[in-house]
C-alpha cells in the first residue's frame, strides 16, 4: 500500500514554525514581490502545493501562464454540452481530490465519462461487438479472438502484469520491465493483428516507444479504480472506471477554480515564466515574459516538462535531470467535439452508437449526459493519429473528422456539426495530455528528475509515485510542499 501518506503531526508543526521564521524575514524589507515560495503552474499540482504551504503559514505566489487555472482539468464551458477537454474521472480512491472537494464545498456525483456502447470499425467495415469473435476480419489468434480490439491492451496488461504494490514500479527489480511495450507483448505470444490493434489505440507514439513499466504502474493502480482484476475481454479500463468514478458537478474546472479562490490574490494569471535564476545562492528570481519579476526563498515547478524546457534555469539542470526535462515524451490527445442533429443515426443502422476504429480516428464516443441526453459525439485521436490530425490546420480538422465518420458510418451523414476542436499538445502552456516514459526512461529519469535542484522543487503528474490521473497531480504537489516545509525547519 502507499508509502507516501499524510505528514505526521510533528513534521507539519516543524514546518509551521519554520515558515513563521521565514515570513518574519520576508517582512524585514525585501522587495514587495517577494514571497516564501513561488509556484509555477496553477493546475492541481501547483494549487495543492500552494494551499498546503499557505495553510502552514507560508506566503506563496502562484504564477499561471494561461488566463485560467486548472491546467489539464479544463471544462469547455464555451462548447455545446460543456465537455471535459481534460481530466474528468474522480476515482473511488482519489483521497486528496475528494478531500479537497469536500473541504471547499465542491460537489461530486457518481459516474463519469459514461459512453454509449461501441461498434467496431475494422478495415473500414462496421462490426457489432457480439459478432467480433467469429467475424472473418478477426485474424487474431487463440484466446485473443474473444477480446475486442479496443480491450486488447487491458487484456494483456491484466493477464500478465506482475506488479502488485503501487510503488513496485520504482523498485530496482522492476527495471527489467523498463523495455519497449511491444517487445514484451511479442514475448507473451501476441499475434501481429492484436499488436496492431494495441498500436492503433495506444496513448503513446507506438508500442515500441513506450516503457512497459509505466503502463504496468497504470494498470496496477487502475485495477483498483475499475475494480477489475484479471484481463477483461469486453471493456477497456476507462469504460470500467466510468461506472465506479465520480465527476465534479458542473465540470472538473470548478475544483481548481475553488482552490484558486481559496488562495485569493496569491494566484497570478497570464504570467509566462521565461527564466528561473537561483545563481545568487540566497533565493529564487523568476522572470516573466511581460517583464515582471518575482522573488522567493524557494520555488516549485508544477508545470509539465514541455513548457519547462522553454524556461531558462540558472544554474542549469544537469545529468539525467536535464535529460528528463529535455526528452520526456508527452502523449498526444486531440479531440473534435460534435453536436448531433436529426434522427438518431444509431437507430437508423441499428448498431451501437459509439465507434472504435482502426482508421484515422481512435474513438468516436457518444457521451451519455447525466440527464440521459445523447446529442453529442467526442472524437478522440491519440498517439500518431493525434499527431497527424495536428498536422492539419485547426480549421480543417473538424471537417476532416466529419468526412471520415460519414465514410465509415453512412447513417451519420448530414447529422453532425463541429462545436469544438482541442489539441493538448498544441494547447497553450501544456504540450501534451500527459507524460509518457520511453523505454529505459523510468530507470534513467524517474528517481533523479524529481530531486530538488538548488531551490527549485518539482511537482506535476509526471513526478507521480503511486497515483494516476488528477490524484497523481495532487500527490505530487503535496510531496513538493512537504519537501520545502522540511527544508525550512
Amino acid at each position: 500500500m502507499p508509502k507516501l501518506s499524510r505528514p505526521s503531526r510533528r513534521t507539519v508543526l516543524k514546518g509551521a514554525t519554520a515558515s513563521v521564521a521565514t515570513a518574519a524575514v520576508t517582512r524585514r524589507g525585501r522587495a514587495a514581490t517577494r514571497t516564501d515560495v513561488i509556484i509555477m503552474g496553477g493546475g492541481f499540482a501547483g494549487l495543492k502545493a500552494a494551499i498546503l504551504l499557505a495553510d502552514e503559514g507560508m506566503k506563496v505566489t502562484v504564477l499561471e501562464a494561461n488566463n485560467r487555472v486548472g491546467g489539464r482539468a479544463f471544462t469547455a464551458d464555451h462548447v455545446y454540452g460543456k465537455p471535459e477537454f481534460g481530466a474528468s474521472q474522480v476515482g473511488p480512491y482519489y483521497a486528496r481530490v475528494r478531500d479537497m472537494a469536500d473541504r471547499l464545498g465542491v460537489e461530486l456525483a457518481p459516474g463519469s465519462n459514461i459512453n454509449a456502447p461501441f461498434t467496431l470499425s475494422v478495415g473500414d467495415t462496421l462490426i457489432r461487438r457480439e459478432d467480433w469473435e467469429r467475424h472473418k476480419l478477426n485474424t487474431t489468434v487463440g484466446d485473443e479472438r474473444a477480446v475486442l480490439p479496443s480491450a486488447m491492451q487491458s487484456y494483456y496488461m491484466g493477464k500478465y502484469n506482475p506488479l502488485e504494490g503501487f510503488d513496485d514500479w520504482l523498485e530496482p527489480e522492476a527495471a527489467k520491465f523498463d523495455i519497449p511495450f511491444g517487445n514484451w507483448l511479442l514475448e507473451k505470444g501476441i499475434s501481429r493483428e492484436a499488436l496492431r490493434f494495441i498500436n492503433e489505440g495506444l496513448i503513446a507514439p507506438d508500442v515500441w516507444n513506450v516503457s512497459l513499466l509505466t503502463l504496468m504502474q497504470e494498470a496496477t493502480r487502475g485495477a483498483l479504480m475499475s475494480g477489475a482484476g484479471a484481463g477483461s475481454s469486453g471493456q477497456d479500463r476507462f469504460e470500467q472506471a466510468a461506472l465506479t468514478s465520480s465527476h465534479v458537478v458542473g465540470g472538473t474546472s470548478r475544483l481548481p477554480e475553488a482552490m484558486a479562490a481559496y488562495l485569493g490574490d496569491a494566484v497570478k494569471l497570464n504570467k509566462i515564466v521565461t527564466g528561473i535564476d537561483m545563481s545568487s545562492g540566497s533565493g529564487v528570481s523568476v522572470s516573466c515574459l511581460d517583464g515582471t519579476t518575482y522573488e522567493s526563498d524557494f520555488a516549485i515547478s508544477a508545470i509539465p516538462f514541455g513548457p519547462l524546457r522553454r524556461i531558462s534555469i540558472l544554474p542549469a539542470l544537469e545529468g539525467e535531470q536535464a535529460a528528463a526535462v529535455r526528452h520526456m515524451p508527452y502523449a498526444n490527445n486531440t479531440q473534435v467535439h460534435i453536436r448531433l442533429k436529426g434522427t438518431p443515426y444509431w437507430e437508423e443502422d441499428g448498431m451501437d452508437a459509439s465507434l472504435w476504429t482502426d482508421g484515422a480516428l481512435n474513438l468516436v464516443r457518444q457521451p451519455i449526459g447525466y440527464d440521459g441526453s445523447r446529442d453529442r459525439l467526442v472524437v478522440v485521436c491519440v498517439g500518431k493519429k493525434g499527431e497527424r490530425l495536428d498536422q492539419l490546420p485547426p480549421e480543417q480538422r473538424g471537417e476532416f473528422v466529419i468526412r471520415e465518420i460519414e465514410r465509415l458510418r453512412p447513417s451519420t451523414k448530414g447529422k453532425m456539426e463541429v462545436t469544438g476542436v482541442h489539441s493538448w499538445p498544441q494547447y497553450d502552456f501544456v504540450s501534451g495530455c500527459r507524460h509518457s516514459y520511453g523505454p529505459g526512461q523510468v530507470t534513467r529519469f524517474a528517481h533523479d528528475m524529481i530531486k530538488p535542484h538548488h531551490r527549485l522543487h518539482f511537482a506535476g503528474e509526471h513526478t507521480r509515485r503511486l497515483e494516476i490521473g488528477m490524484e497523481s497531480a495532487m500527490e505530487s504537489g503535496e510531496r513538493a510542499a512537504f519537501e520545502i516545509l522540511e527544508r525550512t525547519l
Partner: protein
C-alpha cells in the same frame, strides 16, 4: 559516376504497374480495400525533395504519384502573398552553387532575380539601442578582444568560419571528425568565445540551446557556405551572404516568391500530385508498397520515397517498422523551429533613431529583418525568432504573438510606436505539416545517426533535407530527391 552512366545509358521505359496489378501476396492492411491508384513509385511529400525525385523518375519513364498532406506544394518553401508583396517564410536564398535548383528554374522558366540588397541591422542589447556603427565602442558591448568589433548577429559565423577545422564538407561524417560532435558551447569556448558572445549567439541559434546542438553539424553548414567565399579574411562584420556577395558570387531568389518553383515542378509532372492527402501507413509486408492515407485512400507502388521531415515521418505507421539506430533517429531527432512575424509599417521610423532598419535584440523577439525589393526599397519587416524562444511563443495564440512582438518593439524601439501592423504570423512547428523548419543534430548524434538516416528501408527510400550530405538549404532538398530517385532506378535496372 555509376549512377550517372546508368542514367545516360537510359533505363528501359517499362512500368511496373502491370506486375503490380497481378500481385497476389496480401499485405498486412487493406485486404478489403481496392487500390485507388497504382504507380511505379509513390512519393510522400511534395516539397523540393519529393518533386525533384518525381521529375527525375518521370524523366526515365517511371510512373509516379505524389501524396502531399497540405493544400499546397512546396513544403518548407512557402510564400505568403501579403498586401505588401510576396514574402518567403521558408527557403529563400539560392546560393551560387545551387546547381540543381538553378537548373530546375531555367528548365521550367521560373525567373530568378538577384538577391535583394541587405539592410543594416542595429542592436538592442542590455536595454540599450545601439546602431551597427556605434556597436564596437558601445558601453553595453561587453565582448572581449577581437569579438568586440563583431556585430552580435555575426558572432556565430565569425567563430565558426574563422575556426573551422573541417578540411572539406564531405569529411564531416568521417570518424576523425567525431571529436567535433560536441556541444556548440564547448566548441565555441575552446576557440575563445567569451560568456557574453555565447549569450548573444545563444539568442538566435536554431537548436534547442548551445549546450545541446552539435558543433560538427554547424561546422559542416558553414564549410559549405564558405565555398562561395573567395577570402575568409575580414569576416568580422559581414554575414556569410554579404561576404560572399561582396566577393562577386551570385546569390539569387525566385522572382515572385520561392514557392513558384515547386509549383512549376508540379505543373511539369505527368503523374498526379494529390493535395490534402496525408499518409497514415506504409505497408511493405507484401509484394511492393501499399500506402494508406488518412481519408481511407489506398495507393500501390513498387517502391516508395519518404520526402517528408522525420517530424512527419514518425507519425506514419511503417510495416515492417524501422529498426535499431535508424528507428531512434527518426523517432528522436530534434528539429529547429522558426517563428516569423511579418509586419507592415507606415513610416521610415529608423530615420528617427539609430538609422538601421533591422534590429538584433537580446529580448524574446530576437531579430527583426527588413525585406527589400530588388531595387532596395524596404517593403516589410520580418520578425524572426528561432529555436526554443520560438517554441515558447508558440504557446500563445497567434493574435497574442502579434501583439507581443509589436508591443515589445514599441518598448525597445519607441520610434516604431503606432507605425507597425502585423500582416502574418507563421510558426513552422505549429502551422505546417512539416512540424519544423529543419532537422538539427544534437551533440553526439552525427556519429550515431548520420550514417543510417538515409538508408533505404525495405522498399522505402528516404529523401528530405535531413538526409543531406554536403549541400545546404533548397539545394540539399533537391539533391536528396535526386539521390532517392537514382537509388530506385538502380534497383529496378
Amino acid at each position: 559516376m555509376t549512377r550517372l552512366s546508368k542514367l545516360n545509358s537510359g533505363l528501359s521505359r517499362r512500368s511496373f504497374s502491370a506486375v503490380l496489378a497481378g500481385a497476389s501476396a496480401l499485405p498486412l492492411l487493406g485486404r478489403h480495400a481496392r487500390a485507388n491508384e497504382s504507380a511505379d513509385v509513390i512519393i510522400i511529400g511534395a516539397g523540393l525533395a519529393g518533386l525533384n525525385a518525381a521529375l527525375n523518375l518521370e524523366m526515365e519513364g517511371f510512373r509516379v504519384i505524389v501524396l502531399e498532406a497540405q493544400d499546397h506544394v512546396g513544403g518548407r518553401t512557402r510564400t505568403f502573398d501579403l498586401d505588401v508583396g510576396p514574402t518567403n517564410a521558408g527557403g529563400q536564398t539560392i546560393g551560387p552553387y545551387y546547381a540543381r535548383v538553378r537548373d530546375l528554374a531555367a528548365r521550367l522558366d521560373v525567373p530568378l532575380m538577384s538577391n535583394p540588397p541587405r539592410v543594416s541591422m542595429g542592436n538592442y542589447i542590455r536595454g540599450k539601442l545601439v546602431s551597427a556603427a556605434d556597436w564596437p565602442n558601445a558601453d553595453v558591448n561587453t565582448l572581449r578582444g577581437a569579438e568586440r568589433n563583431v556585430q552580435p548577429a555575426a558572432l556565430e559565423f565569425f567563430y565558426l568560419s574563422n575556426n573551422n577545422p573541417l578540411p572539406d564538407v564531405e569529411s564531416w561524417t568521417e570518424e576523425e571528425q567525431a571529436k567535433l560532435d560536441v556541444p556548440l558551447v564547448e566548441y565555441l569556448r575552446s576557440v575563445g568565445a567569451s560568456d557574453e558572445a555565447l549569450r548573444l549567439i545563444g539568442v538566435t541559434i536554431n537548436v534547442f540551446d548551445l549546450s545541446t546542438g552539435s558543433a560538427l553539424a554547424y561546422l559542416r553548414d558553414i564549410k559549405r557556405l564558405q565555398w562561395g567565399i573567395a577570402t575568409n579574411e575580414n569576416q568580422a562584420t559581414r554575414s556569410t551572404y554579404a561576404a560572399s556577395a561582396d566577393d562577386g558570387f551570385e546569390f539569387s531568389e525566385v522572382a515572385g516568391g520561392t514557392q513558384r518553383l515547386p509549383e512549376a515542378m508540379m505543373a511539369a509532372m505527368k503523374g498526379p500530385v494529390h493535395l490534402n492527402t496525408m499518409v497514415r501507413t506504409v505497408d511493405m509486408t507484401g509484394d511492393g508498397v501499399e500506402v494508406r492515407t488518412n481519408d481511407g485512400g489506398r495507393f500501390v507502388g513498387k517502391y516508395a520515397i519518404s520526402a517528408v521531415p522525420f517530424s512527419a515521418l514518425r507519425n506514419i505507421d511503417i510495416y515492417p517498422k524501422f529498426q535499431g539506430v535508424q528507428y531512434d533517429a527518426i523517432r528522436n531527432s530534434a528539429h529547429g523551429n522558426t517563428l516569423r512575424v511579418f509586419m507592415e509599417f507606415t513610416s521610415s521610423f529608423w530615420d528617427d533613431d539609430i538609422g538601421d532598419p533591422a534590429l538584433f535584440t537580446d529580448t524574446s523577439i530576437e531579430r527583426v529583418f527588413a525585406r527589400t525589393t530588388e531595387e532596395g526599397e524596404i517593403f516589410a519587416l520580418d520578425g524572426w525568432i528561432n529555436g526554443n524562444a520560438a517554441y515558447r511563443l508558440d504557446q500563445l495564440p497567434e493574435e497574442d504573438v502579434a501583439a507581443f512582438v509589436v508591443d515589445t518593439l514599441a518598448t525597445i524601439r519607441p520610434s516604431t510606436k503606432g507605425k507597425i501592423k502585423v500582416a502574418k504570423v507563421h510558426s513552422w512547428a505549429k502551422h505546417s505539416a512539416s512540424g519544423c523548419c529543419r532537422h538539427t543534430f544534437e551533440a553526439g548524434q552525427v556519429g550515431t545517426w548520420a550514417g543510417v538516416m538515409a538508408t533505404p528501408h525495405h522498399r522505402l527510400h528516404l529523401a528530405g533535407e535531413q538526409t543531406r550530405s554536403i549541400e545546404n538549404g533548397m539545394e540539399a532538398a533537391a539533391k536528396s530527391g535526386e539521390r532517392a530517385a537514382f537509388e530506385i532506378m538502380e534497383r529496378i535496372a
